[in-house]
């Protein structure tokens, strides 16, 4: 049982590296200004039949046309797409607000039709070098 907050629960990024996050933060800000909310993110997740915290062979933005059916099967949790009403019910269980079925897929993820190509906003930026595409610290290898 944890009865006291460990110090590392509040750790941030060392100051010298913070400015290197700016291109990403600017992109997030743009997403927010375009209207992306957690509810819309979760509706896309359920619409795609993936679980964000599950190990998958493909990232979500790589799930699209041209992907082999067996890889898709390894990414998706179900062969049948849930209805928009089912998706909306799941979203309402997780986030506040009255999320409606007509809002499902209202902010499509890449590479779906209608998604916003934000990657070009930060890719050419030299501040965002591959060194800072840090993977998560983990005691196990994938």
């Amino acid at each position: 049982m944890i009865s006291e907050r460990p110090e590392n629960w509040t750790y941030g990024v060392v100051q010298v590296h913070q400015s290197r996050l700016d291109p990403l933060l600017d992109t997030l800000k743009k997403l927010r200004m375009e209207g992306l909310t957690a509810a819309l993110v979760l509706s896309d997740v359920h619409h795609r039949r993936v679980l964000p915290l599950m190990s998958r062979p493909l990232r979500m933005d790589e799930i699209g046309l041209g992907v082999s059916s067996w890889v898709l099967e390894a990414c998706r949790m179900s062969n049948e797409a849930p209805t928009n009403d089912e998706v909306a019910t799941r979203v309402r269980a997780a986030v506040a607000g009255d999320f409606k079925a007509e809002h499902v897929n209202g902010f499509p993820m890449r590479p779906d039709v209608g998604s916003i190509d934000l990657v070009s906003l930060y890719e050419p930026d030299s501040r965002f070098s591959s060194i800072f595409l840090k993977t998560c610290p983990c005691p196990h290898r994938d």
């Binding site: 990403l24 957690a38 599950m54 196990h140």
Partner: protein
Amino acid sequence: MRSPFSHLKMVVRLVAADDWRPSSMTERRLLELEREGLLRPRTSSSWPEWIAPAADHREPRLPTGYVVSFTKFHHHGLGAPPSRFMRALCHHYGVELQHFSPNAITIAAVFAAVCEGYLGMMPHWDLWLHLYRGELFNAPTGTTGVRKPVLAGCLNLVLKTGKTDRPRKYIQVGLSSNHAGWVSQWFYLRNDDGLLPAYTGA
């Protein structure tokens, strides 16, 4: 006007935690979760992907190779085997799966989905540390200054605020405040390759 005592922290006394509540999860209910595509189908009878607790399990009594999970976690985006990001969260915060609150799972799932589905990259660890911090939840007891630790759901993940405008740089995340009964919806989840920290009961 600021109180002259505002710099003093209130001392909180901790009392004993409540015991586990018996699980309300049955095999039938977990099969429904499987049908919804939120749990992996069971493919092995000797080492199934999930197990409903036996009726006499008043608290978790796990077979070797399993951890305690909750149906809410799977509704909110957890899957098995867990992603590298999920494992990193356990590792960094030094917690077991049952220590996450349902909203912490939602926050982590949304962050992972934003990174992958909109930014086109794996969840970025430095960005995570920049945006979020962990908060310890102790349950109220009804008496001021007295709280009790919780066996499940003690880790909340909170968007950092402060001198900067960080919240305005992330998307809007309004979380549900209604998770009534979630702590009694526990079951045993197969811990593939021991990727998640083992359940210690602590």
